[in-house]
Chain length 320, copies 2
């Protein structure tokens, strides 16, 4: 609790980012229970999946429906929408404009566009399209810890002139410390005075919640999280921690605890995410967790000394 | 990495605080491997157990030898002491003065006295004794989140006049947020300008590492941690995270990863600690984890909604 009121909103990414863990193999009942829990808990947004097109992605057949959200399907999943708004993420080059209905005909409220720094221009074209169709929009710039500031400054110029509502600082590799997060937020605020901000954190170094608290203190308004931290590799900031600690009287942790008890604990027995040493290592080395994810799929999954040696030996070429 | 050099030192508490998890059932080989790992990693102190007297404690028979350190035994465990110093913790009323050899006859370098605020006077008497016998000393004030500031100010007066080398801020319940930790450190610095400070954190809300980073930024010199976070209930700040991130060139994470791979991962299969929802709940409610520890010993261990209801229903009396 804090005397300072909090104007931030939570965007729960359990299905979307968590889907990267289990190939979006969530039952309809699971997703409904999550929606109702978040709605009761007072969480403002639920990101219910990706709005990419299966035509534009390899290996699409095996994925669950939350990877390629369909508006008709969505209506059967959430027949009685509550206060919690629905969000979808799209990736550059993987979205078919024809799939995007006007907001008035969709259950979705928010469409978020994720991109790397070099694709900000393309991302903003998509943002513009979604904006015209009536959606709230965000631009999520990934892997900021690997971006040189001159590139960032160039991107800021495009963003400033765009219609995007929120701009996200995404700690893709879970490598930012609170002082780094603080630095980036100040930089974004300085160059984007006309935009609202969001943060998406990863928990490689057990700093996802702490970095999100830094964002709250600095007036960032959209906070991404997942129930029980479920998300790719080390996972995200935990929704239950935000609901428990943000100074907003409307939040209620009880439904989130219920979701954890009924669904997340059993799911965690089958699927893996969280603070796991190979993910800590990619976080400390400030690189993509894909090498650690590959390691976790082998019998050597806990051989972290060899793994560390491979990533830190200069002669060995490895790609980020 | 940071441009600012770090004058802090790590006190690894794996055996002492981790012993609260497994009743100090660590093999000599485990403890030796840990000592050698910490020594190679550049960790300054290893807290190898408690120096309480078995005569003054109930249920002492079943505990491993690290609960009642004996100087002769210690010499057989660490026949070749390296640079890493050895530490032991004592509790008020559980230590027999006659057990404490002069430092010149012991492998121990540091003796730490843990107490609640109302026992600071008694603790300082013990500190004085250990100081006279040649040891470095710390005073570890527990459960500070439950202490009123007038009591703290009174305690500061006693501490200022004492011979104690370091005074610890102990977040016993894992309930402090970085802003709280920052507040307490400022308070300690203001009232104890002649003392060095230490922090001991718990990870109930995934803030142990973040709170320790706050301490580093504020010049706190002794940082408690455990390998793989092993400690009572939610555990402590992770030694591997400190070794990976503190700006001190001498630290080497590789031996710590080796300890985790060889010993901690297998141990975690048998014993439980870390971010577990009932511990998160006692952390958010700012109370001792004993109710959560009791719950985890029952078949209802994951029934966190009922647990939450019990702790938050006003009619139900529960003691802290």
């Amino acid at each position: 609790m804090s005397a300072k009121a909090c104007h931030c909103k939570i965007v729960d990414c359990t299905i979307r980012d968590g889907g990267l863990v289990n190939n979006w193999d969530f039952s309809v009942e699971f997703v409904q229970h999550l929606y109702n829990s978040l709605n009761e808990a007072g969480v403002e947004y639920m990101e219910i999946g990706y709005k990419n097109s299966p035509k534009l992605l390899k290996g699409a057949d095996s994925a669950g429906p939350w990877r390629f959200l369909n508006d008709d399907f969505l209506r059967t999943v959430i027949p009685n929408k509550g206060k919690t708004k629905l969000s979808a993420l799209v990736d550059i080059g993987r979205v078919d404009e024809n799939d995007i209905l006007p907001r008035s005909e969709s259950l979705l409220d928010l469409i978020r566009v994720a991109c790397y720094i070099q694709d900000v221009d393309k991302a903003l074209e998509l943002v513009s399209l979604f904006h015209e169709r009536g959606y709230e929009t965000t631009l999520n710039i990934m892997a900021l810890s690997n971006v040189m500031e001159n590139q960032l400054i160039e991107a800021f110029e495009l963003i400033r002139e765009s219609v995007v509502d929120y701009v996200y600082i995404v700690d893709s590799y879970g490598s930012l410390k609170p002082t780094d997060m603080s630095y980036l937020i100040d930089k974004f605020k300085e160059h984007l005075p006309n935009k609202r901000l969001g943060v998406h954190t990863h928990n490689n170094m057990q700093l996802a919640f702490a970095n999100t608290l830094v964002a709250v203190d600095k007036g960032v308004e959209l906070l991404d999280s997942s129930v029980y931290g479920m998300g790719r590799a080390a996972g995200n900031c935990n929704t239950e921690l935000l609901v428990a600690h943000l100074p907003n009287a409307k939040y209620n942790i009880r439904p989130v605890l219920d979701m954890i008890e009924k669904h997340m604990i059993p799911l965690r027995e089958k699927e893996e995410w969280g603070y796991i040493i190979p993910y800590m290592i990619t976080g400390m080395l400030d690189e993509h967790p894909r090498s650690a994810m590959a390691l976790r799929d082998t019998p050597d999954k806990d051989k972290s000394v060899d793994f560390y040696d491979k990533l830190t030996t200069p002669e060995v070429v490895h790609s980020k």
